[in-house]
């Protein structure tokens, strides 16, 4: 009962944070809303028994990627977003589009629901479980990840560094 209540509370926080992220005009407020979304997602993972994933969500998304966002906003002195006619059009088309989209997704999920339920915590949520999966069953994807990271390093440096 308490479990479900907490799950719903964090879910609501995540959704409110996400809406606030779009509604705010100043980029730093938007970035911090996204941090709140990441934090409540981490709490959701924790509640589902995926504790390792929850911790990683905080360390990587809230603690590294969002720091990069905030840094960029601080460095570039990005000001408040300006409303144009295009953004009005986006609101008029976007909001009904979003509603239709989420209703369609919910409908598809309810239709596809077979009634089989996965008990909380039965997924490979612990660090040991993830380690086992990652380094035994999904070895090739893991090694390819390192190539991906390598490309990310190179791309970042090439983009950011001015040749002197």
């Amino acid at each position: 009962m308490l479990h479900l209540a907490l799950f719903l509370i964090f879910g609501v926080i995540a959704v409110v944070g996400a809406i606030n992220l779009i509604a705010q005009t100043h980029p730093i407020n938007s970035a911090l809303s996204l941090v709140v979304v990441m934090g409540s997602l981490a709490a959701e993972y924790l509640l589902l028994g995926a504790e390792f994933l929850g911790a990683i969500q905080v360390i990587v998304y809230a603690g590294a990627i969002m720091v990069l966002f905030v840094f960029t906003i601080m460095l570039l002195n990005a000001g408040a977003e300006e409303q144009t006619r295009g953004s009005k059009v986006a609101i008029i088309i976007g909001i009904p589009g979003m509603v239709i989209g989420s209703v369609a997704v919910a409908w598809a999920l309810i239709r596809a629901h077979t009634g089989a339920e996965v008990p909380v915590g039965s997924l490979y949520g612990s660090a040991q479980g993830i380690g086992h999966l990652l380094f035994r069953d999904f070895l090739l994807p893991f090694e390819i990840t390192s190539v991906l990271i390598l490309i990310a390093i190179m791309g970042a440096v090439v983009l950011a560094r001015r040749e002197s």
Binding site: E51, A55, V70, S126
Partner: protein, 350 residues
């Protein structure tokens, strides 16, 4: 599971009591770390340090606290008000939350209940602390940005760049310990270090070959807490007070407390990860059995805090480019090498 045979209400009440005690001890420790620092640095510089308030100036922290509360608080009109107020609270709360996971000793039996001497332990305790450390960057960055002062912004940028740079080395230095202990639980990490070789060399991680990791951890921790020789963010000769230049009164006190409570947490973690936590000779009646581990633990923490202060009284400050290349060109490769060597040695031995 800490609940064990306790009911939910007892569990919650026990947690609240533990939190109250730990918070009280932590805040007192923070206050007296400040006192100790002023005293020790004073003696290093051939001064007396605080002497006026109480015997040996022991009531000085109390006087400081009162002064912080009664000082006028200036909120400049140019600041981003919400973030300006949020930043010090964020910094302080993140530095306090980490203490939740620190084990101060094994468990004690009180009225038939087995109570572990820590607020809580989880399977991923170490990762939670790392997560908290990575969130703590926001406190500093937002303080610098929201103040709308050049000193603050530069200080905030420097501080956050420094913290994230050393976070990589900090994280990598823990991998060796994790290989040896095979768990993220801090209680488990201490348990893995009990016992001795030949009856007198304790099986601490630092003696299991993790001395390089210990060195990296200490360096990174000094940088993470913005202490000398890495206190560039608040280098007073160039940046006045860095990211908290525009803060006064209680909000400044929060940054101040955050720094010292971070020092305490880092000292606790260093003792747990590398120096065997609360392990030590235990003898005598049951009451000593319960108290001696806490004493051994406190002794280690005090040692680390003393070294912190000693370093502050001794070393000059790095230049910023030296600071950055120390993190990226020295500590990072050293940490990766340490991971590989530890893995090789463990593989060869098994």
């Amino acid at each position: 599971m800490p609940t064990g045979n306790l009911s939910v209400t007892t569990f919650v009440i026990a947690s609240i009591i533990k939190i109250a005690i730990v918070l009280w001890v932590l805040l007192t420790a923070v206050a007296y770390t400040v006192w100790l620092e002023r005293k020790v640095v004073g003696h290093i510089q051939n001064r007396w340090g605080p002497t006026r308030v109480g015997p040996f100036g022991l009531l000085q922290p109390l006087a400081d606290g009162l002064k912080f509360i009664f000082k006028e608080d200036l909120t400049p009109p140019y600041v981003h008000k919400f973030l300006y107020i949020l930043a010090p609270m964020l910094a302080l709360s993140m530095s306090l939350i980490a203490i939740c996971l620190i084990p101060f000793g094994n468990s004690v039996n009180i009225a038939g209940m087995n109570i572990p001497l820590q607020i809580t332990d989880t399977n991923i305790a170490l990762l939670i602390i790392l997560g908290i450390t990575s969130i703590a960057v926001y406190g500093v960055a937002l303080a610098g940005w929201s103040s709308n002062s050049k000193y603050s912004l530069l200080g905030g940028l420097r501080a956050s760049a420094q913290m994230i740079s050393y976070e990589v080395a900090l994280g990598l230095s823990l991998v060796g310990v994790l290989i040896l202990c095979g768990t993220f639980s801090l209680h488990g990490i201490v348990e893995a270090q009990t016992g001795t070789w030949f009856g007198f060399i304790p099986k601490w991680n630092i003696f299991k070959g993790q001395f390089i990791a210990f060195f990296i951890y200490i360096m990174a921790a000094y940088a993470e807490t913005n202490r000398i020789p890495f206190d560039l963010p608040e280098a007073e000769t160039e940046l006045v007070a860095g990211y908290h230049t525009e803060y006064s009164s209680m909000k400044f006190a929060m940054f101040f407390m955050a720094e010292y409570s971070n020092m305490v947490t880092v000292a606790c973690l260093a003792s747990i990860l590398f120096l065997g936590g609360w392990t030590g000779p235990v003898f005598g009646p049951p009451i000593l059995h319960a108290l001696l581990p806490i004493f051994w633990f406190a002794l280690r923490v005090l040692f680390f805090i003393f070294v912190y202060i000693w370093v502050r009284g001794t070393l000059p400050r790095f230049r910023y480019d030296q600071l950055m290349s120390f993190a990226w060109k020295f500590l990072l490769p050293l940490a990766i090498a340490n991971v590989m060597i530890t893995a090789l040695v463990v593989a060869l031995r098994s």
